[in-house]
């Protein structure tokens, strides 16, 4: 079974984001693996361990630092790693989906995993667009996957804590919300050993990628306009003030 994982390298939000006119100042921000893609790598490796196959991880190298992420994926159990050398830190999910689809097409995948969304675009478009480009079905919001022959049984999450089990025919694109187990830890000694020896495939970006639905005109940090009011006093006083407040807003 050919298992492919499409990943995204995204700006870290561990720190405040420096803004440079119409976008993030990509030179002064760290890039990290999208956390949903961390889940999809884990799910891919779990499927491989249960049902056999090979896992190929592919991502767009936006700032020339994707190798670190790919080494980690290999240490966690992926078999192959491919980077699309784009060097465009601002490439949006639509653009990246186009490039990823072109790279993945030749891999003739049986199942493509990708994070259901990422914290930068937050549009959840990589999965559906990949599926559209590759002419495959898509199922997103998935929290576990089991493959038996030509069928994958997946749990899909809906709003309000509702879940449903689907049987989907391969090949398919799966948007992973969470892997069926927490992502495993890759020991650094293993990651470093892989960094010395691993061959990472390189692909030039090709394919148009449908242009973004949105055009970025301006980006600015939010401005604080009000402050939280701290209620003080005994718990009785505070409770009375809360009731008063709710009444004044017409909520009680």
């Amino acid at each position: 079974m050919n298992i492919v994982v499409a990943i995204k390298h995204i700006p870290s939000i561990a720190d405040e984001l420096p803004v440079n006119g119409s976008n993030i100042d990509f030179d002064s921000v760290d890039f990290v693996l999208n956390e949903f893609d961390e889940q999809s790598i884990e799910q891919a490796v779990l499927v491989k361990e249960a049902s056999g196959g090979t896992v190929t991880v592919v991502g767009v190298d936006l700032i020339g630092e994707l190798d670190n992420v790919l080494h980690l994926a290999l240490a966690k159990g992926a078999d192959n790693a491919v980077k699309i050398t784009a060097d465009e830190p601002g490439a949006d999910s639509h653009q990246q989906a186009g490039w990823l689809a072109e790279a993945i097409r030749g891999m003739s995948p049986d199942i493509v995993f990708t994070g259901v969304q990422a914290s930068n675009d937050l549009d959840g478009q990589i999965g559906p667009m990949l599926a559209a480009y590759l002419d495959l079905p898509y199922i997103g919001g998935v929290s576990s996957v089991e493959v038996n022959g030509g069928t994958a049984t997946v749990n899909k999450e809906f709003a309000g804590g509702v879940g449903a089990k689907y049987a989907v025919s391969l090949p398919v694109v799966v948007g992973v919300q969470a892997a069926s187990k927490p992502p495993r830890y890759a020991p650094i000694s293993k990651v470093r050993q892989i960094a010395q020896t691993a061959a990472i495939g390189k692909v030039a970006p090709s394919g148009d990628g449908a242009g973004a639905g949105l055009a970025l005109k301006k980006m600015a940090p939010p401005v604080a306009t009000g402050h939280a009011e701290m209620l003080t006093g005994s718990s009785k006083d505070v409770a009375a003030k809360i009731v008063e407040l709710l009444k004044s807003k017409g909520l009680a």
């Binding site: 830890y185 650094i188 000694s189 293993k190």
Partner: protein, 427 residues
């Protein structure tokens, strides 16, 4: 390969009748089979066969360690018990017990058989990590943050020197200085990023400046020492950080290194030599105590407080420094120094060592209270106003602990902050 250990064989015979008299002792035996029949050496051998963990098999169950194990005070733990658990079926490499030891080394101090948990635990944990066994999630996150960002807090590397803007004095950074310095001050991750750590770092900068020390820091060229990650089983991560730090240490000219934290002292003094770095390194308390004659006249303002001092395991037991911190505290006018019952060589562990710093939620599930909480209660029982510390892990640990045990009236301050208060006269 023949097994190293033989299963115990019962010496009593089931039946022994002499001249019609049963002398087997059956009538005198316990009604249940003695546990000795269930002993199994395999799981002891499994641990002792890991390189570094050999001394695990030395234990002869005298239990001296249990009397001093800080985890046993809040749980059911200790080297002797681990050996016993292994005899009765516990596989340490898969058990929660693997992660509870803080490598405080109090057991090693009293052990007649030199069962060395400071070596056993890292070795067994490393094996568990390499074999893909259970690793507490919080610890994984600290490992990953260290690997990705160079510090366990997951803060950006380029912000490592941001604290110097608010230090109140100029803090020279080596890469801008362009000349040799007397003292390379390794600041450390928590003093660089944690809000309360920054308070101690700023205090240190002001003290060094007031003393006229020719010092500089590495700033964003510095990365975590990763000694606690090593003790938590991530040797590869430790080596990755060590390679970087050693390269940076060798990039500049300096005569002596001063470190803010005891874990850094332990890494650079005791472990880095194995990686080719062997230069003079001292903890700030040792360094400042050496300058006490010049420091004393600067301590103009009394700090009228009753203070008790917590010996960090990696400053005290691991590196033998007990007196310098006390000398510094006693040099502050107005300070009344009181001791907790467990002090110096028998100091109680704060729970932060050996990776415990990043396993608080996990540890809490297997103990009755946090070690830091136990210690905060001990500090409060002395009647002290302030619990003085000398390790960057401790301020945040004990500040949480005094709150959670209802002892908010006990302030937690680094010795650096107390010296700084006395120097500047701030409340």
């Amino acid at each position: 390969m023949a097994p190293k250990y033989q299963k115990a064989i019962a010496i009593e015979k089931e039946q022994a009748v002499v001249d019609g008299v049963d002398i087997s002792g059956h009538w005198n035996r316990m009604f249940e089979q003695r546990v000795i029949f269930e002993y199994t050496p395999e799981l002891i051998e499994k641990v002792a066969s890991i390189p570094g963990a050999e001394s695990f098999a030395n234990c002869y169950q005298c239990a001296k360690c249990i009397a001093v194990c800080p985890v046993d005070v809040v749980g059911n733990y200790g080297p002797r018990k681990l050996y016993r658990y292994a005899q009765t079926g516990l596989d340490l490499t898969e058990a929660p017990e693997l992660w509870l030891c803080t490598t405080c080394a109090n057991c090693l101090r009293v052990c007649p058989k030199e069962v060395n948990m400071v070596k056993i635990m890292p070795a067994a944990r490393e094996q568990a990590i390499l074999d893909g066994k259970f690793v507490p999630n919080e610890l994984q996150q600290a490992f990953e943050a260290t690997a990705n960002t160079g510090n366990p807090l997951g803060q950006p590397q380029r912000k490592r020197e941001a604290w110097i803007q608010n230090a109140g004095v100029e803090v020279p950074v080596l890469r801008d200085l362009g000349r040799p310095v007397e003292v390379l001050w390794y600041v450390g991750s928590y003093p660089s990023y944690h809000p309360r750590g920054m308070d101690a770092a700023s205090a240190a900068a002001r003290i060094f400046t007031a003393l006229g020390i020719d010092f500089a820091i590495l700033g964003k060229e510095e990365k975590d020492d990763a000694d606690s990650q090593r003790l938590a089983g991530e040797k590869g991560l430790f080596e990755m950080m060590a390679e970087h730090n050693i390269e940076m240490f060798n990039k500049y000219e300096w005569n002596e290194m001063v470190v803010t934290g005891p874990h850094e002292l332990n890494a650079f003094k005791n472990v880095y030599p194995k990686y080719g770095f062997e230069r003079p390194v001292v903890h700030y308390t040792t360094f400042l105590a050496r300058h006490l004659d010049r420091l004393k006249p600067l301590l103009k303002h009394p700090v009228n407080k009753k203070i008790t001092y917590h010996d960090p395991c990696y400053l005290g037991r691991h590196n033998g420094e007990y007196e310098a911190p006390r000398q510094l505290l006693q040099a502050i006018p107005g300070v009344e120094l009181v001791e907790m019952d467990r002090n110096r060589q028998n100091g109680y562990c704060c729970g932060g060592g050996g990776g415990g710093m990043w396993m608080d939620s996990f540890t809490a599930k297997h103990t009755t209270m946090r070690l830091s909480e136990k210690r905060a209660m001990e500090a409060a029982s002395t009647g002290a106003d302030v619990l003085a510390v000398a390790c960057p892990f401790e301020v945040s640990r004990f500040e949480d602990a005094v709150k959670s045990t209802g002892n908010e009236h006990v302030g937690v301050l680094d010795i650096l902050e107390l010296l700084d208060k006395s120097m500047r006269g701030e409340p």
